[in-house]
Symmetry: C2
DNA sequence: TTGAAAGCGATACCAA
DNA sequence: TTGGTATCGCTTTCAA
């Protein structure tokens, strides 16, 4: 039976202790289960905890000792891009299984938003920070250096991170795709992606891609949808604009599979045959690819694994276990059949 | 120039005060900008704040006054279902614009996970809680009642919520879709969705749907993919299983548009014409629908708006402004052309 | 096995 | 315009 936990008044440890007829230290020990009390005492205390509906105030705990909290700040550019939703899911599931919580920050691809969020979240004494991307404002870097907590930079693999890093080499993955398409004989290649104020992993991929294509004697025409989220519709209308401006395009590489599907729909709707009239390549091996009639040419990236790995590295560091501070998660090209094969080419 | 903020030692307000040659109360006042100090004093203090790289410890602030934190706990079933990713995005953007942060909880559709998460997150003294769904465990309800903080239950509209509610009537939205399809002459209708331990909004939609279909002389054959996320592939193979078990199906209603697209792909791959051979209806008006050649029959639901509205109600309550505690956000049927129209039917 | 006292970093309240 | 002191809920330390 609840006694008097109905009102707004919060039940504190000392109230529990008083009700149980012991000191708050004793009650504290019982609750932490660290031993040093009799079975009888324990029973008395636990009974009152139950009756009063006591919930510990972890703020005070962190505040008192020099223990850190159980929450981890996680910054993500946006959730409309399915890639990041998956990364976040991987992070939060894994953190949760170790009793930690994610404090979310959607930075909308701007360093200033990230900096503001970092300042705020640090003021809550988080156990650590997981940040998407390797680029940060000067102010942010300064705070991060002085924070004295574990920091994992994810997504864009960084061999000399602020602290730890897990991700993949986006330049190389773009380069590999470029080399592959050029190798198939494509020369006038389009790229459709989104554009934001901050250079990000997609920008890096594009740079690698251009290098490979241009090195192979091809040419890249870029179509960037400003301030848009990398999902279906920008892929569709980005393709429309691209093809309107350049009629020679023989193949299009997209920022991710969702955009590629949007583009594929545009091309199909215009009567273009894939891959006979135009090649289509995506990136990320997203869920949509699993239901398409032709295997989409893409790049497989273990999004969920990146999130999980980031969380694991974080937990290890919090628990003072040894961890490698850099982890290259890799990628692999999926040839697919939305580009011509070598024999037709 | 930084002086000595390099080491792990955290800079506290009293260190700033000492460095500036004032008391910590004065420093505190300057930092809060509440007035009651000279311009000169302010300058001295701010200079030191900058030099030392001082970051306030908000834990202590909350702890000292009876202010609450800026955390808002947000529980979401999963992020693989795009519907929820959008809701979360709406919530976090809006909360962020008011200086609040989301503490995420992925409950994976189980009440037990939700209860565990609620217990933990409450111990961090959040300013409020936003919960997806109207069903909670007895233990959770008990804690929520005693928490004394604003609580918004979202998604499934609830006219007698624990505290506040915003969402839509899923039963009615299912019913309307059922009535619509029956009205078009469909009689042997399939339903493809996912299934979890906990009854949820999708279950409620299905109930409304069945009622309308059966009331109109039709019949519903259900195909539930166990413990799966409501996205493309379960839609695909759920359709395969459904059609294998019942060859009379003339129309299929899906849990959401992503699943509907998966099913559409299965049907098309099997040579079925949409809508001549079989009708397809989704739910949610998700981004994928914007790039399909035929308008997908669906139900428009303002996911982002629900998230924003939830955050707005939360902020209003935190700021002690008046708010209606229930908000029915509505829905609207999109006829589309993936079902036959009245004249063909 | 138990308890009393000090302290974590900030703010409220009162006094100067 | 300033500063001293008590206080929030809990843990650490030391003493009984």
């Amino acid at each position: 039976m609840r006694e008097k936990s109905s009102k707004n008044k919060k039940i504190s440890l000392s109230m529990v202790a008083e009700a149980a007829g012991v000191s708050k230290m004793t009650a504290s020990r019982v609750l932490r289960g660290e031993g040093g009390y009799s079975a009888e005492t324990k029973e008395k205390v636990m009974l009152k905890v139950d009756q009063l509906g006591y919930l510990p105030n972890r703020l005070a705990t962190v505040f008192a000792g020099d223990q850190s909290s159980t929450f981890v700040g996680v910054s993500i550019p946006d959730l409309g891009n399915e890639v990041f939703a998956q990364v976040l899911e991987g992070i939060d599931r894994k953190l949760g299984s170790f009793g930690h919580q994610s404090v979310l920050g959607l930075t909308q691809h701007t360093l200033q938003e990230e900096e503001n969020w970092i300042r705020t979240v640090l003021s809550w004494q988080p156990a650590g920070l997981i940040l998407t991307g390797r680029t940060h404002s000067a102010g942010a870097i300064d705070m991060l250096r002085n924070a004295g907590i574990p920091i994992v930079e994810i997504w864009d693999f960084n061999s000399s991170p602020l602290d730890m890093s897990v991700g993949l080499n986006h330049f190389d993955s773009g380069f590999d795709m470029g080399r592959y398409l050029v190798g198939l004989g494509y020369r006038s290649i389009g790229y459709v992606g989104t554009s934001h104020d901050t250079a990000n992993a997609a920008t890096t991929r594009l740079a690698g891609f251009c290098k490979a294509v241009e090195g192979g004697g091809g040419e890249v025409t870029k179509q960037l949808c400003l301030h848009d989220t990398a999902t279906f519709y920008p892929g569709f209308y980005g393709t429309e604009q691209l093809l309107a401006s350049n009629t020679d395009i023989d193949c299009i590489f997209y920022q991710n599979d969702s955009m590629a599907f949007g583009g594929l729909q545009y091309c199909t709707g215009r009567g273009l045959k894939i891959p006979d009239d135009i090649g289509i390549a995506g990136w990320g091996d997203l869920p949509i690819a699993s239901v398409l009639p032709k295997r989409l040419t893409s790049m497989r990236v273990p999004h969920l694994r990146i999130g999980q790995a980031a969380a694991e590295m974080m937990i290890a560091r919090i628990s003072d276990e040894p961890v490698a501070n850099c982890r290259d998660i890799g990628f692999s090209l999926i040839p697919g059949s939305t580009v011509r094969n070598l024999h037709t080419g």
